[in-house]
Amino acid sequence: MSELMSRPLGTQTITVLVPTGALGAGVDAADVARGIALGIDAIACDAGSTDSGPSYLARAVSKVSRESIRSDLSILIPAAFKAGVPLIVGSCGTSGADAGVDWTRDIALEVAQANGIAPKIALLYSEQSHATIEQKLAADKISSLSPATDISGGIIAECNHIVALMGVEPYIEALKQGADIVLGGRTTDTAVLGCVPIMKGAAPGLVWHAAKITECGGLCSVNPREGGVLFRIGDDSFEVEPLRLSNSCTPYTVSSHMLYENSDPFLLTEPGGILDVTCATYEAVDDRITKVTGSRWTPQPYTMKLEGADGGPFQTIMFIGIRDPKVLSSLEVFQERMLRQLNRRVETAIGEAAGDYDISLRVYGWSGVSGQTPAPGTPIPSEVGVMFVATASSQEMATRIAKTCNPIFFHFPLDAGLELPSYAFPFSPAEIERGQVYAFKLNHVVAVENGLELVRIGWADYPGAAKKEGEHA
């Protein structure tokens, strides 16, 4: 049975198990065990992304719960330890800020102790101080990506957190120093998965391509919900295989993953080079495994992408539901009139003290997502939800604006002279303080001497364990 045999792909085969597309999304213990039985050299996955918005970086807070991370690490840490292979996690804590690394470290230590084991845990920090980035800017080492964003005039200093996306080098350094587990700050997804094969001397084109294909775990398979995948790198090809026997990685699912969340599916810039898959070919080994050849890697001057986010104004929201057919058949007129009335009321009641404020109405079921008037002939919905969003320079002012608007928002008639309606609302109090609006500020890369220049390597201490003098210095 091929499913329990390792598959040599030449003189050296290096296999990486990718248990999930994102730590905290769920890991299946049986899938991981099956992957390990196939013979692996590392378990690797990332734990972060910018995809959920700027708040997680601006606050350095995880998107997923501590329980989700603990649940997945409770499977992965003992499994990797027993198998004697390193466990690599990148972009810890969603944003990969230093606080995200430390948060994940504490969970990992807890899991290790609960299992009665003490793997050596390396910590890679890639958050950057304002001073470092200002210095790099002054030295002309920072350049903008498209679309260009301005970072002059104190923008850098306004960022709550700035992270630089690591490549494979810090991971390799930590592994060479004996790490059993590496918990990294912000890293390109591909570097997290590719560091072990690169360290072992595999062809970089194959490694970066395999890592790109498998960075979202099962997303490159026929049934993305059915667990993770593994990739094995040989002399001149790599293979992608799902962990679960019922799942398949076909040439179509594997090659089409290059489209996912990439603005260009053929050329990918990574720290230290460019992956070119223009000439790659994808072929089925059997009905579950796909083999890839022809991936190329061109070394480039080393750059790291920067991400930075800060906090801006504050929002308070309210929500109503409408079923009145008369209003539903005139939603454009209705929202236009209501918005005018709301702004007028704020100007009258609060006046200039409201500052640079904004009121936005979003009619869900009609135009809430698009923000545009639907085409003529669009069927009238049976009900809509209307979200009111007040944005102001402080939470207090946003809430004062919402409260000032409350009587109009909940009782605005379609036409003057009609009896006052009451629209449906589900909560009391009706206004919800949503918090701050955060913003991504950097779309830049920084040129560095090498992949370690802007990275600090640390080691986790087990609580209660005496630290030997000079250890890990």
């Binding site: 910018t50 995809d51 959920s52 918005g53 700027p54 708040s55 990506l145 498209s146 679309p147 964003t149 179509y252 090659s255 089409s256 489209l259 996912y260 969340e261 990439n262 603005s263 260009d264 599916p265 053929f266 991400e307 801006g312 104004p313 929002q315 904004d358 936005s360 979003r362 809430g368 997502v369 698009s370 923000g371 085409a375 944005t391 609006v437 955060y438 913003a439 991504f440 779309n443």
Partner: protein, 105 residues
């Protein structure tokens, strides 16, 4: 005139980082891809009109092996700005479904 949704089996949109959205038009088959993959109505002007993207920055990338036309455009404001309505950019594709194509099926 056929609509884009008539000649594609799947159309999707998603963030490609905080500053870009990428759209994948999966044509039904090679024939549909060859007939409509370069339709003049799938143009920088279309994406400028629908999404406020700078026409000069929009990338059109044919992926022949998959019968896919990929279009990537810069967001008119970065992901998460105060007027954000689609944090993942995952629903932006809907505006494309009814785009009418010039060539016949």
């Amino acid at each position: 005139m056929p609509k884009l949704s008539d000649v594609c089996r799947h159309i999707r949109s998603k963030n490609a980082g905080p500053f870009w959205i990428t759209v994948d038009l999966f044509f039904k088959d090679e024939q549909a891809y060859r007939a409509h993959g370069r339709d003049p109505n799938i143009s920088p002007e279309l994406f400028s009109t629908l999404y406020g993207a700078n026409p000069a920055s929009i990338k059109f990338i044919p992926v022949d092996s998959l019968n896919v036309l990929k279009i990537s455009y810069p967001r008119s404001a970065p992901q998460g700005w105060r007027g954000e309505r689609d944090m993942h950019g995952g629903q932006q594709f809907a505006a494309l479904l009814d785009v009418e194509l010039i060539e016949k099926i």
